[in-house]
Amino acid sequence: MDIKDIIKPENIVYQKTKLFTEKPLSYCPGCGHGTAHRMLLEVLEEMNIQDKTVGIAPVGCSVLAYEFLDIDMQQAAHGRAPAVATAVKRLMPDKFVFTYQGDGDLAAIGTAETIHACNRGENFTMIFINNGIYGMTGGQMAPTTLPGMRASTCPFGRDTEIMGNPLKITELLAQLPGVYYVTRQAVHTPNAVRKTKKALRNAFEYQKLKKGISFVEIVSNCNSGWKMTPNQSNKWMEDNMFPFYPLGDIKVPQLEKV
């Protein structure tokens, strides 16, 4: 069969969602941020809530998320996305509201905003891209950096004696009664991407119930910061990040039909 007979509009089975703007993504080649964006948009599209959704972009590599996601967005000061999301959701309770934050943003400078929004049981979704590093600013150590992992501010690897232990903020937040749904996923293989999409769908469905925060961590690569090729970084992530940050559901609501 000739390729020309396959490549016809009626045979399309997958294409980039129209909820992306035309702008090329500013992320490094192979970076998981783009895949995470795409799954988020596919969920909004499938739920047909793109016109009722407000996203809060962080400071970090995804600071420009509002340039790529063709939905209503606000950009917050570093770490303050949960505070901004609190205001947006309280003023417009019928909107679907989410934050999209890196580990430096959510688990370092924004720890107070994160914990208190979760503890107050605000009714929005938090999407947490954990790549164990400050990607945007040149790969400095983050609270999430693994023991022994190299970063520009710990070039010989994180020494926990001096630099302390990495923070599993997701497990910590799951303890809070204001947090309704917590899961940890990844976007480096087709199966992982499909599971992430399901998790994001759950998160937005749960948001409708107004029972608190729905929280989706995505363990992701920062191939530039880790100084690896994209495929090497994905392998490294499987071998090193997943044992410390295991994938799967952490808190699942009991018997709630959505």
Partner: protein, 76 residues
């Protein structure tokens, strides 16, 4: 018997040559071109088009979402 045939189209100018799609394809369809696009990236292309089943795995993992997948049934 009906057989499934697939094909992909890569948006060459938006491909960043990251190679993430290559191991995602169980049929070993994809390679990077020797040529580069306008940004200087070697772009992905179907080296082995007959093997494509249109499973969409490559498109799902492409960080830049630059792969469109086509699939059709053919009577063998």
């Amino acid at each position: 018997m009906a057989k499934v045939k697939g094909a992909i189209v890569v948006d060459i100018e938006k491909c960043k040559g990251c190679s993430v799609c290559i191991p995602a394809c169980n049929q070993n369809v994809i390679l990077l071109a020797k040529e580069v696009n306008g940004k200087g990236y070697q772009y992905a292309y179907m080296e082995n088009p007959e093997a494509c089943t249109g499973c969409v795995n490559c498109a799902i993992v492409c960080p830049d979402g630059v792969i469109t997948v086509y699939r059709t049934k053919v009577e063998a």
